[in-house]
Every structure is written in structure tokens, then in C-alpha cells.
């Protein structure tokens, strides 16, 4: 048994080395390839001479080289990062890997990790970020927490002080493992180079499997420098204690189908689980066969085309009127890959009390966490949805769909029409998004920051393709937009990436304009400037008697700022210029910054006030 295992390892190691040598032939990893070739030659000559069998062929690598070999073996091609003292050996090794690994030097580690998130969300791959120890590592924490709550697969690699200095308050030492524990799916500190291949294999496996999430590997400087016998990279396919997918219970699938088939008013809520599970087609087939109206969470956006007849809009605090009101009228509520966030449910004790709840989720901890489930369907929805669809009766539920349309009309009259076709002099955020839709045809990747513009963009942006909406849903991280858009462009280089950002959020991470300048990431930056921290101001207006406490924010000359970074730009404040300016932005080759001055005190409606039931959604 043991012998068989060893043989397999050797075979895989040899295969990895061959791949490494091929890579080197193309001009990369010269050092690794040279050593590989040398050891290969030695093995051949030993065999030819009939000598005693040599030891298992290995290559001598430093820990840093092993890190980069692991990234290559995992298919990584783009890294976002920022060097520093404790990660210098890895950066030194990276110098020899420049042809194989593209490193994007950001201007702040927070920008690096948000870029890696944007990359992961548009590419479907694991995002990778490098940072040094101490402040470098702590600057990643916001992004880790953001990725954790939004289930974004990331591998963050941080440098750490020498193992001999751990715990001595050495220069730039922080206990990054303990700091990041609650914000990571898994983390691990490497203090010896021999641990690196296995630790990284485990990191990538954990980050991308099951419910994805961020993983952090902290590597001490001595481990980065240490040379060791590298026997090849073995991808991880199993961890003793980790079951990424729960076992699908067929009896629950049958019970769920029975409930849905018997429903008069079924209603589907879908979240990012559909996108993360690559189950968009399976989801579409499911709702189409059952004739099931479906509404999306902010992160579920783009899993179903906006204009699909069964798409009834957005859920939650600033969602659409009909799906919120009818949540409290449906008889069977089917949640697919969503987690009943409090921004979706409003007051839990008044949430869908009349409904039987079917919950499909890969994470068993989500079942019954917030909303009591009648039938849980544990599993990857890519697997469970087809099983469920097969048992569904073909239906249309036209009368029930009519109710969504009826309430939808009410929302159009009360809110949407005025937002998209304002008669006031001031421009609205909604009309900007409407024209953007016309010009992009719903094909663009839309990255948003956090605030009013985010909710407006999520409400009104049109999507034809999946993985097109990148936003900070769970953590609500202001400053996310610009760096995430840079990453999104690397994740989807052939697509138009539009970053819609408020004047508040933009000023949090605008240093990343420098990254755009240096690396030429083609990001269209659309600043919707209302001269306020708009969402906080809206709450202060509605709930704090208009006591506008520190929400008035002034902005620099954004166009001049962009120009300083060699980015073209324009600022407009007249409706007549809007379409032309947006067209100029989209047609421009390269990055472009467009500032649109919008109404100062416009509000985002409808709104479910905090502490209210979803049925108490306000239209004004």
C-alpha cells in the first residue's frame, strides 16, 4: 500500500517536472528548469551505466521558488501584490518567473486583495495576492473579511519574519494567523520550506471547493530562503476532516419536488450559489419547467439574464416592490444558493411566515441559520437542481406571475419611471445606468462600490452574461470598486469593465489609479457624484430628522486627478451631455474617468426600513 503510494507520487512529481521543463523551454523559470534538466540527465546517465538505482529524482529549490511553482501548477497566471522586507525572497524569485506569472503592483495591499477578488469573480478562478508581513498583512484584512462573507475564492500569501523571531515583536511582525482567523476559511503558517508544496496545494483546494472562500498562507522569511529537495507538486484532492460537498439526500429532493408541484404560489430566491456552482443553465431549466418566478439577491445578479420572463427583480432592502411584498404571500419559498441575509429578509419574525421553505445550499450551516426550512436540499446546486427539475411538473403559474406584473407596474409608476426619466434639472443615478445599458447592450461587467450608486446600479443595470456583477455584498466595503474593477479586467480581459463608484468610495482607494496608469488595465470609471456620503445621508434624512452629521464630502477635480495619472476623463453636469459622454468613455481606447454630477439629495427607493417586514417596503 505504502509502496504504491510512493510510486504514484514519483510519477506525479516527474510529470510536474516535465511540465516545468516545457515551461522553461518557452523561456520561464530558468533556474528550476536548469536544475531539473541536470537531475534528469544524471538519472539517464546512471541508468545507461547500469549503476545502482539513484535516489528519487528531485530538484533543489528555495521555498520561494516552490511557492511560484505551486502557483504555476495551480494554473495561476496573474498575481496582485506589494513587496516588502519579509516577502522579498518570493519577489526575488518572481524576477525569474516574469514570463509565466504576471504580477500587478498595486498601490496598497487593500487594493491588491480587492483586485484579486474582482479577478476571481469574473474569471471563476482563485484570486492570488501577495503582501509582506506586519502592515502589509494587516492591510489585507478588510479584503479577507469581504471575500469570506461573499464566498470569494482567494489565496493570500504573506511574508513573515524569520521563524526564530516569531513572538519577539520583531520589526513588521504581527500575529497574522490569529488576526485573520475569523476572516479566512483556512489559514496556515509555514516555517519550513518543505511544507510549502503541501500547504499551497491544500490552500488552493480549500479556497475553491465547497463553499469557496479566502485562505491565507503566512510564510516565514527563512522558509522562503531555505533550499530543499523538491519532489514535484501534488495537487490536493482530499483533506481528512473536510467534506466540501454534503451528500445529496434524494428523499429530500423528492419532498422538495412534491412541495413545489403542489404549490399555487411558488417563489424562487436565488443567490451567488448559482454562479459559484456554475449552475446557471440548470437553474434556468429549473424555473422554466416549473414556471417559477425568480428574484435575485445582490450577489445572485447576472446568474439569470435581466430580461428573462421569469426574472421578477431584486430582493431586499432596496430591491423591487413585487418580490419583497410577495415573499409574504407565496406558499412555497425556494431558496437556491442564498443565505437569507438580514438585508434580504428584513424582520425575521415577520418573514414569509405563511410559506413552506425549501432551501438548496452547499453549506449545511446555512440551513435553518436564519429562516426555518421545511425541506433542506443539501448539496451543490449544479447537482441538486437537475435532480429536482426532473421531478417537477411542467407548469406556468400565469395568474401568480400576473401579481408580480401588477405590483411591478405600481413600482414603475411610483419610482422607476421618475428615476429613469426625470423631469427635474438634476440628473439621477438611474438615468445614467439606463443609458449605460443602451450603450453596452447588457454585455459589460459592472463593478460597483458601496452606497446609493451600488443599489441603483444593481437595480437598473442589465446583464446578459453570468459573472458580470462584481460588488461587495456582505461586508459593504467602501473603496472596493476601483481595485476590484482592475482585477475584474484581468479576470475578463475581453469584456468591457465599467466601475460605477460614488464620490465617497472613490476617495477611499483612488491611489489605484496609479496601478491603472502603470499596467494599462482598461477600466471605465464612472463616478456618480452627489457630493454626499449618499446612503448615510438618506438614512439621516429618513430616520434621523435630516440631521446630516458629517456626510457632506467634497471632491478633488477628478478629471485633473485622472490626468495626473495619464488617464483621460471628463466631468458633466448637464443631461444633454450624458449619452455622448458615456459613449466617449466606452469608445475610448484605454481607461477613462467620467464624473457625472447627479442630484444631491435623491434617495434610493423602494426601501425596506431596518427592523421592518419586507411587506412594509416603502415606495417613497
Amino acid at each position: 500500500m505504502e509502496t504504491a503510494k510512493i510510486t504514484k507520487t514519483q510519477a506525479q512529481g516527474a510529470a510536474a517536472q516535465t511540465a516545468g521543463a516545457q515551461g522553461a523551454a518557452a523561456g520561464a523559470t530558468p533556474q528550476a528548469a536548469a536544475t531539473g534538466a541536470a537531475s534528469g540527465a544524471a538519472a539517464t546517465s546512471a541508468a545507461a551505466a547500469g549503476a545502482a538505482p539513484a535516489a528519487q529524482p528531485t530538484t533543489t529549490l528555495t521555498g520561494s521558488q516552490a511557492v511560484l511553482e505551486a502557483l504555476l501548477a495551480e494554473g495561476v497566471r496573474t498575481i496582485f501584490g506589494y513587496p516588502g522586507g519579509a516577502i522579498m525572497p518570493i519577489y526575488d524569485a518572481l524576477y525569474d518567473y516574469q514570463d509565466k506569472l504576471e504580477h500587478i503592483l498595486v498601490r496598497h495591499e487593500q487594493g491588491g486583495i480587492h483586485a484579486a477578488q474582482g479577478f476571481a469573480r469574473t474569471s471563476g478562478q482563485v484570486g492570488v495576492v501577495f503582501a509582506t508581513s506586519g502592515p502589509g498583512a494587516t492591510n489585507l484584512v478588510t479584503g479577507l473579511a469581504d471575500a469570506m462573507i461573499d464566498s470569494t475564492p482567494l489565496v493570500a500569501i504573506t511574508g513573515q519574519v524569520f521563524a526564530s523571531l516569531l513572538g519577539t515583536d520583531a520589526f513588521q511582525e504581527t500575529d497574522v494567523i490569529n488576526i485573520t482567523t475569523p476572516a479566512t476559511k483556512w489559514n496556515y503558517q509555514v516555517t519550513d520550506a518543505t511544507e510549502i508544496p503541501a500547504a499551497l496545494a491544500k490552500a488552493f483546494y480549500i479556497a475553491r471547493t465547497g463553499r469557496p472562500g479566502p485562505v491565507l498562507i503566512d510564510i516565514t522569511k527563512n522558509a522562503q530562503q531555505q533550499k530543499f529537495d523538491y519532489a514535484g507538486y501534488v495537487p490536493c484532492q482530499h483533506v481528512r476532516s473536510y467534506r466540501p460537498k454534503p451528500i445529496v439526500r434524494k428523499e429530500y429532493v423528492e419532498q422538495a419536488a412534491k412541495l413545489i408541484n403542489g404549490a399555487k404560489k411558488p417563489f424562487v430566491l436565488f443567490g451567488q450559489g448559482v454562479i459559484l456552482g456554475h449552475a446557471e443553465a440548470e437553474f434556468k431549466a429549473f424555473i422554466e419547467k416549473g414556471g417559477l418566478p425568480a428574484a435575485w439577491t445582490v450577489l445572485g445578479l447576472s446568474a439569470l439574464p435581466t430580461d428573462h420572463p421569469l426574472n421578477v427583480g431584486m430582493l431586499g432592502m432596496h430591491g423591487n416592490y413585487a418580490p419583497n411584498v410577495l415573499t409574504n404571500e407565496c406558499d412555497v419559498l425556494i431558496a437556491v444558493g442564498m443565505r437569507f441575509d438580514d438585508r434580504v429578509t428584513g424582520r425575521l419574525d415577520k418573514y414569509a411566515k405563511q410559506a413552506q421553505v425549501v432551501h438548496l445550499d452547499i453549506d449545511p450551516a446555512e440551513i435553518d441559520k436564519n429562516v426555518k426550512t421545511t425541506v433542506p436540499v443539501w448539496g451543490d446546486c449544479k447537482e441538486t437542481l437537475p435532480l429536482l427539475t426532473a421531478l417537477l411538473e411542467k407548469k406556468t403559474h400565469s395568474e401568480w406571475m400576473g401579481k408580480f406584473k401588477e405590483l411591478g407596474k405600481k413600482e414603475v409608476e411610483a419610482v422607476i419611471h421618475n428615476e429613469l426619466n426625470p423631469t427635474t434639472e438634476q440628473m439621477t443615478m438611474g438615468e445614467v445606468i439606463k443609458i449605460l445599458n443602451e450603450l453596452t447592450g447588457g454585455d459589460a461587467v459592472i463593478v460597483t462600490d458601496v452606497g446609493q450608486h451600488q443599489m441603483v446600479a444593481c437595480r437598473y443595470a442589465h446583464f446578459n452574461k453570468t459573472m458580470s456583477n462584481v460588488t461587495s455584498g456582505g461586508l459593504g466595503t467602501m473603496g472596493f470598486g476601483l481595485p476590484a474593477a482592475i482585477g475584474a479586467k484581468y479576470g475578463a480581459p475581453d469584456r468591457t469593465v465599467v466601475a460605477i463608484i460614488g464620490d465617497g468610495g472613490f476617495q477611499m482607494t483612488l491611489q489605484e489609479l496609479g496601478t491603472i496608469m502603470q499596467f494599462g488595465a482598461e477600466v471605465k470609471i464612472l463616478i456618480l457624484n452627489n457630493q454626499f456620503l449618499g446612503m448615510v445621508r438618506q438614512w439621516q434624512q429618513l430616520f434621523n430628522d435630516k440631521r446630516y452629521s458629517f456626510v457632506n464630502i467634497t471632491s478633488p477635480d477628478y478629471v485633473a486627478l485622472a490626468k495626473a495619472y495619464s488617464i483621460e476623463g471628463a466631468s458633466i453636469n448637464v443631461r444633454a451631455q450624458l449619452k455622448g459622454a458615456l459613449k466617449t468613455m466606452l469608445d475610448h481606447k484605454g481607461s477613462y474617468l467620467l464624473e457625472v454630477m447627479v442630484g444631491k439629495e435623491n434617495n434610493v427607493f423602494p426601501m425596506v426600513p431596518q427592523g421592518c417586514s419586507v411587506a412594509e417596503i416603502r415606495l417613497s
Binding site: K8, P182, K185, A199, K202, V234, Q237, V239, R240, S241
Partner: protein
């Protein structure tokens, strides 16, 4: 519904930092840990945590699911006191001269099933195991005779159900890897790969 005592049993891999990862799941929810015991289990490389808390059942159920979600956790169970057999061990340090002179003390120790662990000229250490109330009663009884020091262990508990955790754990381990799954050769190798 009222808060009651629950014993959470967590089976984990033996990994640095896991204690912190589990402990912060309680502190994040502002749940006080009454007692926590961790030790190797009967299965190689698998550790067992026994954690006692006062909580509502619903909270404990959700908490266990979240604990189970941690990568290095195999299983997390929770039980009420009725479902468990448990013990805590206590050590009592008392002056030897008092013990030698006072026959009552000897009788007291017999009553509580205590045994002497160390006998020195200056003090004697007795050990007793039992439920909290039992070991507490012995403290009260020994106090008048000059109890010098007292220490108690965290709870160790075993489920009454005859199939118990051991079978469930084996089931879990048997779930995966299935036949076509290639083991990562570096994993499960303990000290050969990871410094534990």
C-alpha cells in the same frame, strides 16, 4: 425555552491554531465557555474537544454547524446532561498533620471515594472524580480542616447511546475518499510534512 447546560464534543485534526479558531466562535457570539477539555482521541491524529456551555438549544445547534464547517473539524455533536456520562477530576491539597490526627477527615475521604495521590510531611494531595456537585461538596467538607489548594479539571464526557461517537466517526471517515480519489501524499503524514 430556557438556557441549559450542553456538552459539545468536537472531533478535529491535530492542528496548531485550531483551539483559537474554535474558541473565537464562542467569543464572537458572546457565549461563555464553562469548561473546555482537549486531548487526543482513540483515533490517531484526531483530537477531541469537550466544551460545556449554558445556552439555548437552537443556538447550540447552529453553533455546532458552524464549528463543523471549519476545515479541520470532522464532526461536532452536542448533548444534554441526560444523554451523557461525565466526570471531572479534582485535586485537594490539605495539611498532612490534620489528616493524620482527625479520623473524621479520613472517613470523609472514604465517603467521597477520594484517594491519596501524594503524602508528604507538610501536605497530602487527594484526588476525587465526579460531577461538579460531588467535588464541590468535598471542598466544603475539607475547608474547615485547612484546605490549602484545590484544582479541578474540565469535563470529560461520553455518550450513553451504545453506538456513540466512535461509530459515527468511522462512518464519517469512510464517506471519503471514495475509490477514484487520489490521496495527497503530503497530507495525513503528520510530522513528515507539517510541523505539528
Amino acid at each position: 425555552m430556557q438556557k441549559q447546560e450542553f456538552t459539545i464534543t468536537v472531533y478535529t485534526e491535530n492542528q496548531i491554531g485550531l483551539l483559537n479558531r474554535i474558541a473565537i466562535m464562542f467569543s464572537r457570539r458572546k457565549i461563555n465557555i464553562e469548561s473546555l477539555n482537549t486531548s487526543p482521541s482513540e483515533i490517531e491524529g484526531i483530537h477531541r474537544f469537550t466544551i460545556v456551555i449554558q445556552e439555548f438549544e437552537d443556538v447550540v445547534r447552529k453553533l455546532c454547524r458552524q464549528i463543523e464547517k471549519q476545515v479541520e473539524v470532522l464532526k461536532a455533536y452536542f448533548n444534554t446532561n441526560e444523554e451523557l456520562i461525565w466526570q471531572e477530576m479534582a485535586l485537594y491539597k490539605v495539611p498532612t498533620d490534620v489528616i493524620a490526627e482527625k479520623v473524621k477527615v479520613e472517613r470523609l475521604l472514604r465517603e467521597y471515594g477520594a484517594r491519596a495521590v501524594v503524602i508528604r510531611k507538610d501536605y497530602t494531595v487527594f484526588e476525587a472524580t465526579g460531577h461538579r456537585e460531588e467535588t464541590d461538596r468535598l471542598i466544603k467538607a475539607l475547608e474547615p480542616y485547612g484546605l490549602i489548594e484545590f484544582v479541578r479539571s474540565a469535563r470529560v464526557a461520553i455518550i450513553k447511546d451504545s453506538s456513540g461517537f466512535h461509530e459515527k466517526l468511522k462512518e464519517f471517515e469512510a464517506q471519503e475518499p471514495g475509490e477514484g480519489v487520489i490521496e495527497n501524499e503530503y497530507l495525513g503524514k503528520g510530522t513528515e510534512v507539517f510541523s505539528m
